[in-house]
């Protein structure tokens, strides 16, 4: 039997500071600013014809670190899966469980709801909106807004940037609108 504590997530007061340390780590390594969404931009720059679009006209090879970094994240996710225990589930609050239950979510095992994130649900309007439109908005919005959670909420706020505070406010405005008004329509 696995001891009880192994089912607990890494507590916030350990995970938060460790994630915060990514900021000085990348600066000290090579004067790089922590930010993840740019990797998509570099991939576009790598495959699109040069000088066709100004946004993608730069030497992506100078930003190779970002691509190596996201490869590392994939490997980190794999490493974490090796330490996962049988029957693992994310222990969220009862109120959230009730709210998600109203959307028809009954399976709380694993890291994401497999009732929504599966290939057959993908072919339904709800699944299409969640995975296809959701993904599109993340990529489009992150570049329109000049950064994602890592670039603005962690890096930008760490450097006391007002633009990042505005962007993070936008993240929550969009997220709350989706959570309270749009997702209930899509899922229930």
């Amino acid at each position: 039997m696995m001891p009880e504590f192994s089912l607990q997530p890494m507590p916030w007061y350990i995970a938060g500071p460790l994630i915060g340390l990514m900021v000085p780590l990348l600066l000290v390594l090579d004067n790089r600013q922590f930010g993840i969404s740019s990797a998509y931009r570099h991939m576009c720059a790598a495959i699109l014809p040069k000088d066709k679009f100004s946004f993608f006209s730069y030497d992506w090879k100078t930003q190779k670190w970002n691509l190596l970094f996201v490869i590392g994240i994939v490997l980190g996710g794999y490493l974490a899966s090796l330490t996962s225990v049988e029957g693992y589930s994310v222990v969220i609050s009862e109120q959230t469980k009730l709210a998600l239950g109203e959307w028809g979510i009954t399976d709380f095992s694993g890291l994401i709801p497999t009732e929504i994130f599966n290939f057959s649900f993908l072919t339904t309007p709800g699944g299409f909106i969640v995975m296809v439109l959701g993904g599109f908005l993340v990529g489009f919005g992150a570049h329109y807004g000049g950064g994602c959670t890592s670039g603005h909420a962690i890096s930008g706020l760490s450097n006391l940037q007002l633009p990042s505070l505005i962007a993070v406010t936008g993240f929550f405005a969009g997220g709350l609108l989706m959570t309270y008004f749009i997702l209930p329509l899509i899922l229930s």
């Binding site: 916030w12 938060g16 890592s150 930008g156």
Partner: protein
């Protein structure tokens, strides 16, 4: 190699602290738990202290060059509109870009779908950005 290791460390912590979990993100947007706020908040506190130290002591990076942390341009429109669009997607997928990579590594292949469309969203933005208000 050092960047792969840095990413690996981040990905591992992100999974172990459940930052990558759709359930945690939706719990955060329902204001039902302190977990996510604690993580983002304490990460920012450590980040602020680190950057202040780096600036105060004019530290150099490992190549011996002065570390400079640039300021972001103050163009409010793009942060408000782009940020809100990102937020809509964030609550749908329940994961921001970093965690999506970690979930795929964790074995959730289905996340390759939102990732591919995040890539297409990026490409679309880059192609039409001149027409958008910034």
């Amino acid at each position: 190699m050092k960047y792969i290791l840095a990413g690996l460390f981040f990905g591992f912590v992100a999974v172990k602290s459940e930052v990558v979990s759709w359930f945690r993100i939706l719990e955060m947007f329902h204001f039902d738990s302190f977990h996510m706020y604690g993580i983002i908040g304490s990460a920012v506190v450590i980040g602020i202290i680190s950057i202040q130290i780096i600036k105060r002591f004019q530290m150099k990076d490992m190549k011996g060059e002065q570390i400079s942390v640039g300021n972001k341009e103050m163009t409010p429109k793009r942060y408000i509109i782009g940020g809100s669009i990102f937020g809509l997607g964030w609550a749908l997928v329940g994961a921001c870009p970093g965690p999506m990579y970690a979930l795929v590594g964790n074995g959730y292949w289905i996340i390759l779908v939102p990732m591919f469309f995040a890539f297409l969203g990026t490409m679309t933005y880059g192609m039409i950005r001149e027409k958008l208000p910034h």
